[in-house]
């Protein structure tokens, strides 16, 4: 049989099998499982066939609940059906899983196991999700590695067909799903041999058919339901045997033998660890190491967790065992122990009862590795050591410092030395191609040499300037080390300013190789290194090399793409392959990747290879000593609050693993406004203001996605204290004598997106390319601007009540309470949020759906929602993806209820308080900023009186009185939420009539999870799951909402008409009922140069694709047409806008005929909608639904 090896990740390894043995796949994207579904869709679109020669049907649903329903339906009608999911997705599938299992239906759900959202969401891996599915009746089969995931995907399929019990086949999210490893690919012949055709025919035979009808899904009464549940027992009893048979058959075919419970260790082991998932590989390797040291230890890897076969478990436990530690990668608060622990204890207890075992060993349970927390050989050794205690600590944790309840055990890190292994670490930027190049290196080595290769990639949570760390191992033997590299032979730093921020040199082995991408050459570099890095280097005494990769890339026309250059340096320096062979392989890979793009591109990359070889410089360390560094560090953290210094800073510096439990909030509550302490300095180019050209329009600060540009006006007398280079000009508004205007750029927080420059209307008469704001190199202005910022922050914040922020020009002076988020450079969403925070921030409640906005809005370590000088600001929370409308509605209900409670209490206490004040508070108009300000004063006054009172009613009133300042409740999320998964809730919230405001940041695609189609994706655009172009029209959510009659609806696009955006947000907030704002948000998922995002917004409106509308029921009430069309008739064709974007262009390039037809269809849709809207704008008011 042909033996084929590939280097792929766990998701692909699994999807490869799942696709081949199924006919239908219904999915919904969720990290970290999305790739499996995307691959299935790609293969289906390309016509790849399953083992029976058919092309599986892949369908994307509106939620995991929807996917599970579709899977259920497809199964019930006889198709071989699968799905891929994780975490909350699996939770949404649970109801159907009970049904599928209850009906004994063969199916495999492949799960990249992930944490569940509790005190916080986490996208990373543990077993919380699959453990929550253990009572559904699904079998649970666990894989520990990429190879196992590939193999057991097939074993699960074979077993489900035979046993009729549906399976969850799971493996650890990220650690296995995203680890790239070299595996043996199962040939189709073996796949076919594993699948029993008769079982498939039987499965189809059980499918519903009008030709032999049955009824399934009945409602049952007390008389038979119970017995009915017991009918399945025999199937569950038989299942373990069937799985083992499948494993044995698989072994006969491939030579790879799996067991339900696999024991590795000494025959006379006294201490045994029981574990499942990727951690088993770490335990196995450490056990072998300890055995070699003479220790009597062993380990059991659990593969089939449900149905749990105690008999098979007991068979593999050596009789010599005295102590067992059972490890769970999940937490079940309040339980007597975690699930696997309880099952092992129960099994042993039952064995004792039935005399199958003489003396029950000591069994302890422990938790490890939640949310992909590292699980290392040191921890395993620590667990074995903990077992030595006379009374070992039960219910322990390992890998953290629980200094509150003392659950954690101690351990010392150590490394399983393997001299055959080359280990390399690469610190890169998300956008510099480091990860891509490393994946490429693994492929080169894994698929073109006999060496084995493993790659694992760690990303930070920022979307702009994100840091990546690539962990690569190469060696002669299969690499089973599912933990990060601690001691590397090679460390490369791909971004010079990481030197200060990130610990890198400590990861080097002594005498290893350190490669630094540096603007300084071998002579200059030493003095430019921070002092502590110099010391670290001298201690490790590595081979030290520098290359100015950025300059080399620039010189060969590759812009900032340094990946090829750094890859070449790695191969040359690491010695993984002989140099010439490595260069030949890299060039081969370049030709393969870029061949289609033409010889010129290939040659450019070849030039980069040659230039890298020529420019690599060795730094002589002999005679070096630590010298005062010229490197400038940022000391801003010194002034931060204690929590930020102690906790947030540790996370920022990559030392979050060391934070003890006591330092963390118990309920997931964190202080806001922490991004200001991070100063990420990710852009080398920043905007610089030219006051002499500035017309003070406010456009630049209005569009800035990161709130980096701030405006203030102030009395000129402040200038006497201003730093030398602080810039200001007289304000150009009437009625402000002796007043200066200043625009301050927070250069350290800028992402360099260029939107401010693009939008600036003021150009120099001498040189049209010079504007009132221009991008320039940051280095020369950095220190000046830092000093200016310090002064600017001391200037008084402009009084909201004196500002006319009905105009963009006035709104620029409102303090943003959303700043410096980790959103993409040039993000199209965040300017809307910043504006929201400016307009209503000090009384704002935000319910934020999961997605991009919850990640850049709420992902630790630092968060952007912040407070004003009074300590007021947006209170923000994220519940789930699907429930955000309901979540926000709940906030509104509370606000209304507690306002009423406050009013009632005011009435009750009227006799003890100032009655006039009470009347004023209760009847206060609060539409305008000045009115709100006065109301705050009234309440402050009342609080003084209340605090003097001791009655419980007074205390109750104090706890709710703030509700009488009008609160602004906003439900924020993307189109994936509003159009798809949260659609039902959103519809209900709109129909509630309550005073809620819904802001849909419409990127027309699932941006956060990587560009999957939503119901907002437009006709003719491509997206994942619509690779042939979307044929169905975008849902007109605006018209749906308008149909209620009492919903304020607006469609806005800041890049097309900022004034209309401002007006709509203010009108929506003022409207005392439900409001819906659909905000066009350009996005990297559109495939545009983000600098042109605002231009695209303008074009979207200019072609009529995105008409600017406002539907205001208040107008209907006063006899006016409530539907206002704010944009002009289309002046360009749809394609003139669309074909600037890769999402449309892809189809034009791959299938121009189809693209042309779809574009015509899309144009027709645009024309029709425009005509309808134009019509509506001219209707009489009576033509619209009346409002109560």
């Amino acid at each position: 049989m042909q033996h084929k090896v590939v280097t792929i990740d766990g998701n692909e390894a699994t999807a490869y099998i799942a696709y081949r043995v199924n006919e239908v796949c219904a999915i919904y994207p969720i990290t970290p499982s999305s790739t499996m579904a995307e691959l299935a869709d790609e293969w289906s679109a390309k016509g790849v066939k399953n083992i029976w020669g058919n092309i599986p049907e892949v369908i994307e649903m509106q939620s995991e609940g929807g996917a599970a329903g579709t899977v259920h339906g497809a199964l019930q009608t006889g198709a071989l059906t699968t799905t891929f999911t994780a975490s909350q997705g699996l939770m949404l599938m649970l109801p159907n899983m009970y049904k599928i299992a209850g009906e004994l239906t063969s199916a495999v759900f492949h799960v990249a196991a992930r944490s569940l959202a509790a005190q916080g969401l986490s996208i990373f891996g543990d077993h919380s999700d699959v453990m929550a599915a253990r009572m559904t009746g699904f079998a649970l089969l666990s894989s520990a590695s990429v190879q196992e995931a590939h193999d057991q995907a097939l074993i699960a399929q074979a077993a489900t067909l035979k046993s009729r019990i549906p399976f969850v086949h799971f493996f650890d999210g990220f650690r296995t799903s995203h680890e790239v490893n070299k595996i043996d690919l199962i040939p189709d012949e073996h796949i076919r041999a594993m699948i029993d055709d008769k079982a498939i025919i039987a499965h189809r035979g059980r499918g519903l058919s009008p030709d032999h009808p049955v009824i399934r899904g009945t409602a049952q009464n007390p008389d038979v339901y119970f017995q009915g549940r017991e009918t399945v027992n025999q199937y569950y009893l038989a299942a373990p045997g069937i799985v083992q048979e499948a494993m044995d058959q698989f072994a006969r075919l491939t030579g790879r033998q799996y067991k339900l419970f696999e024991y590795i260790g000494a025959e006379d082991a006294e201490k045994v660890i029981v574990i499942m998932g990727s951690g088993a590989e770490t335990v196995r390797a450490t056990t072998r190491y300890l055995m070699a040291q003479g220790e009597k230890v062993g380990m059991i890897q659990v593969r089939l967790y449900r149905p749990f076969s105690a008999k098979d478990l007991l068979e593999v436990i050596p009789k010599s065992v005295k102590k067992i530690a059972v490890l769970d990668r999940t937490k079940e608060p309040g339980a007597p122990g975690e699930p696997l622990y309880q099952d092992v204890v129960t099994s042993m207890a039952e064995a004792l009862q039935t005399s199958n075992w003489d003396v029950v060993p000591v069994i302890i349970g422990g938790r490890y590795g939640l949310s992909s927390k590292e699980f290392t050989p040191g921890m395993v050794r620590g667990i074995f050591k903990a077992l030595q205690a006379r009374v070992p600590k039960n219910h322990f944790t390992v890998g953290i410092n629980d200094d509150v309840t003392g659950s954690s055990i101690t351990y010392e890190e150590f490394d399983l030395e393997d001299t055959q292994l080359t280990q390399a670490l690469f610190f890169g930027l998300g956008a510099d191609g480091t990860v891509g190049a490393n994946k490429n290196s693994i492929k080169i080595i894994g698929e073109n040499t006999d060496l084995h290769a493993q790659g694992y990639f760690v990303y930070d949570s920022k979307k702009s300037g994100a840091q990546t760390v690539s962990h690569l191992r190469f060696g002669k033997y299969p690499i089973q080390a599912p933990y990060l590299i601690r001691k590397a032979d090679f460390v490369a730093c791909h971004k010079f300013n990481f030197i200060e921020k990130v610990e890198m040199v400590p990861y080097l082995k002594e005498g290893g190789t350190f490669l630094l991408n540096s603007p300084f050459d071998a002579e200059e570099i030493w003095n430019q290194l921070p002092n502590h890095v110099q010391c670290q280097i001298l201690e490790k005494n590595p081979e030290f090399y520098v290359i100015d990769a950025s300059r080399v890339a620039e010189s060969v026309g590759m812009s900032s793409r340094i990946n090829t250059i750094m890859q070449v340096c790695f191969f040359v320096l690491s010695g993984v392959l002989p140099k010439d062979e490595a260069i030949a392989q890299i060039k081969g890979a370049i030709r393969k990747s870029y061949g289609k793009k033409g010889e010129v591109v290939v040659r450019k990359n070849f030039e980069a290879v040659d230039a890298a070889l020529a420019q690599l410089q060795r730094v002589e360390l002999q005679g070096r000593k630590s010298v005062p560094s010229l490197y400038k560090t940022n000391g801003i953290l010194a002034t931060a609050p204690e929590f930020v210094k102690e906790v947030t800073a540790a996370m920022m510096l990559g030392k979050g693993d060391a934070i003890p439990v006591s330092k963390l909030p118990a309920d997931g509550t964190y202080p806001t406004g922490t991004t200001k302490w991070e100063k990420r300095n990710i852009s080398d180019r920043v905007p610089v203001w030219k006051p002499d050209l500035c017309i003070q329009c406010g456009n630049c600060s209005f569009v800035c996605p990161h709130s980096v540009i701030r405006a203030k006006f102030f009395h000129q007398e402040y200038l006497s204290q201003a730093p030398e280079h602080f810039q200001s000009i007289p304000i150009n508004a009437r009625g402000f004598p002796e007043t200066q205007y200043s625009l301050q750029v927070y250069v350290e927080d800028c992402t360099g997106c260029n939107l401010c420059v693009e939008v600036c209307p003021a150009t120099s008469p001498e040189n049209r390319d010079v504007k009132a704001i221009n991008m320039q190199s940051k280095e020369p202005v950095l220190e000046i601007q830092k000093e200016n910022i310090r002064f600017f922050e001391r200037l008084p914040v402009n009084d909201r009540t004196s500002l006319d922020f009905s105009l963009v020009r006035g709104a620029q002076f409102l303090e943003p309470l959303f700043e410096f988020s980790g959103a993409c450079a040039g993000c199209g969403e965040t300017p809307y949020l910043r504006l929201l925070s400016q307009l209503f921030g000090d009384r704002l409640l935000v319910a934020n759906a999961t997605g991009c906005s919850s990640i850049y809005g709420g992902n630790l370590p630092t968060t952007p929602w912040t407070t004003n000088a009074d300590g007021r600001g947006p209170a923000w929370s994220n519940s789930l993806f699907e429930d955000n409308a309901e979540f926000g509605l709940g906030m509104r209900v509370t606000v209304d209820q507690l306002s009423q409670v406050a009013k009632n209490l005011l009435e009750q206490l009227r006799g003890s308080l100032d009655g006039e004040l009470i009347d004023e508070i209760i009847c206060a108009p609060q539409l305008f900023e000045s009115e709100i300000s006065i109301q705050r004063e009234r309440i402050a006054k009342l609080k003084v009186d209340l605090m003097k009172m001791e009655s419980i009613d007074a205390q109750h009133l104090l706890s709710v009185i703030d509700h009488l300042v009008r609160r602004s409740v906003w439900l924020v999320g993307g189109d994936g939420w509003a159009y798809d998964i949260g659609s039902g809730g959103l519809d209900h919230a709109l129909a509630s009539g309550r005073d809620i405001n819904i802001l849909v940041l419409d990127t027309e695609v699932y941006s956060n999870t990587g560009g999957q189609m939503s119901k907002a994706t437009p006709t003719a655009a491509t997206a994942k799951f619509a690779s042939a172009g979307k044929r169905v029209g975008k849902k007109d959510l605006a018209m749906q909402a308008i149909s209620y009659g009492n919903v304020y609806v607006a469609q806005i696009a800041m890049g097309a008409n900022p004034q209309q955006t401002l007006l709509a947000l203010r009108e929506a907030e003022a409207y005392p009922g439900p409001s819906l704002i659909l905000a066009y948000s350009h996005c990297i998922a559109h495939g545009i140069d983000m600098e042109k995002g605002l231009d695209q917004q303008a074009l979207a409106v200019a072609c009529g694709y995105w008409p600017l509308i406002r539907y205001n029921p208040s107008l209907r009430k006063i006899g006016q047409n409530p539907f206002v069309l704010d944009s002009l008739r289309p002046v360009i064709r749809l394609k003139d806008y669309a074909y600037n974007e890769l999402r449309y262009k892809i189809l034009e390039q791959t299938n121009p005929e189809e693209a042309g037809q779809l574009m015509e269809l899309a144009q027709e849709i645009v024309d029709l909608r425009w005509n309808n809207y134009e019509d509506m704008a001219s209707w009489k008011p009576e033509a619209f639904q009346p409002v109560a």
């Binding site: 996208i123 010129v600 990587g1010 491509t1022 990297i1084």
Partner: protein
């Protein structure tokens, strides 16, 4: 029965009316329609090296910024490696057109770098193009560049391509050479097979509101044919090159004029935009009617009869004639 057969670049064409490079040929269905409407050949829309480079650059920039950069999204677009960036789509159109029509397909190349001309030219040849029309779109904005250097540039490109490509090459020229005739002779020495007279330079306009340069291209009009007409008449019979006329062909009348001047073919685009591809039928009908009226049965019978070398007063094409006109009018 009249014959419209003609020879251009050594290719046998059934008609002298050829569709010049324009976006209509981006759709293979349109090319089929052009053949059905009688076109002698189709020059495909131009492949711009600059555009390909820019698209590739943008593609790399967009994808580079979005790939493998964030834990939840390894990329944002489906099936990333299969996009037809670069020349592949153009080459696919050549291949498809060759499969579906019998008339010659002439690729049009607008290069930028020495390597680009050769690489793309070879790719077009391999994809099955019958000939290549090269469009040297060069504005000598560098004031230090002499006319000799400019001319050398054209000669070098022609020579380079001829050395690397076996199919016929036509060079589309602009009229702004000091000595067009001499230039034609020099180009002939490079081995090129024909000249296309003339291309219309990109001529920028200003938007006086935004103070920005704006670009717009307007269709040629019939009265623009005079310059090409002059030089085709002047070159006919004096160079051993195929001559193609382009610019201003709105009706059969301009086709006839160009043929009378000595061109092998006349190219049209704007007429098809103004009417439809089917308008080629009418042009052919009118050409045949004119031939019948004048009792011509083949193109060769009247090609070049109005050329400088064939008319009784050759000075009609020279300055002396111009002075006479002035005197007459004065």
């Amino acid at each position: 029965m009249n014959s419209l057969k003609t020879t251009y670049l050594g290719l046998q064409l059934r008609s002298p009316i050829v569709v010049s490079a324009c976006p209509l040929s981006e759709r293979v269905d349109n090319i089929v329609e052009m053949e059905d409407a009688g076109a002698g050949a189709v020059v495909l829309f131009s492949l711009f090296e600059e555009q390909i480079r820019s698209e590739t650059r943008n593609y790399e920039k967009v994808l580079g910024a979005t790939s493998n950069a964030f834990a939840e999204a390894m990329n944002y677009f489906p099936d990333i490696e299969e996009y037809h960036v670069g020349t592949s789509r153009y080459l696919e159109i050549i291949r498809q057109a060759k499969e579906r029509v019998d008339i010659p397909i002439i690729a049009s190349l607008n290069g930028m770098t020495p390597e680009g001309w050769v690489e793309y030219g070879q790719q077009m040849e391999q994809a099955g193009a019958d000939a290549i029309e090269i469009n040297v779109f060069f504005i000598p904005a560098d004031l230090r560049m002499s006319g000799v250097e400019v001319e050398k540039l054209y000669v070098d490109i022609a020579m380079r391509l001829k050395n690397h490509v076996k199919i016929p090459i036509a060079l589309k020229l602009n009229p702004y050479f000091s000595s067009m005739g001499n230039m034609a002779m020099r180009l002939q020495e490079t081995g090129v097979d024909g000249l296309v007279l003339f291309n219309r330079f990109y001529q920028p306009d200003f938007d006086i509101e935004t103070l920005r340069v704006k670009s717009s291209l307007e269709f040629s009009t019939a009265n623009e044919i005079r310059l090409p007409l002059l030089w085709i008449a002047a070159l006919y019979g004096r160079v051993e090159l195929s001559l193609a006329a382009t610019t201003g062909v709105q009706t059969a009348k301009e086709v006839i004029k160009y043929l009378l001047a000595g061109s092998d073919i006349a190219m049209t685009t704007s007429s098809l935009y103004k009417h439809s591809i089917g308008y080629l039928h009418i042009m052919h009908k009118e050409l045949m009617q004119w031939m019948s009226r004048h009792q011509f049965t083949s193109i060769d019978q009247f090609r070049g009869v109005m050329s400088q070398q064939n008319i009784s007063d050759p000075t009609a094409y020279e300055r002396a004639n111009y002075i006479r006109i002035l005197e007459t009018n004065g």
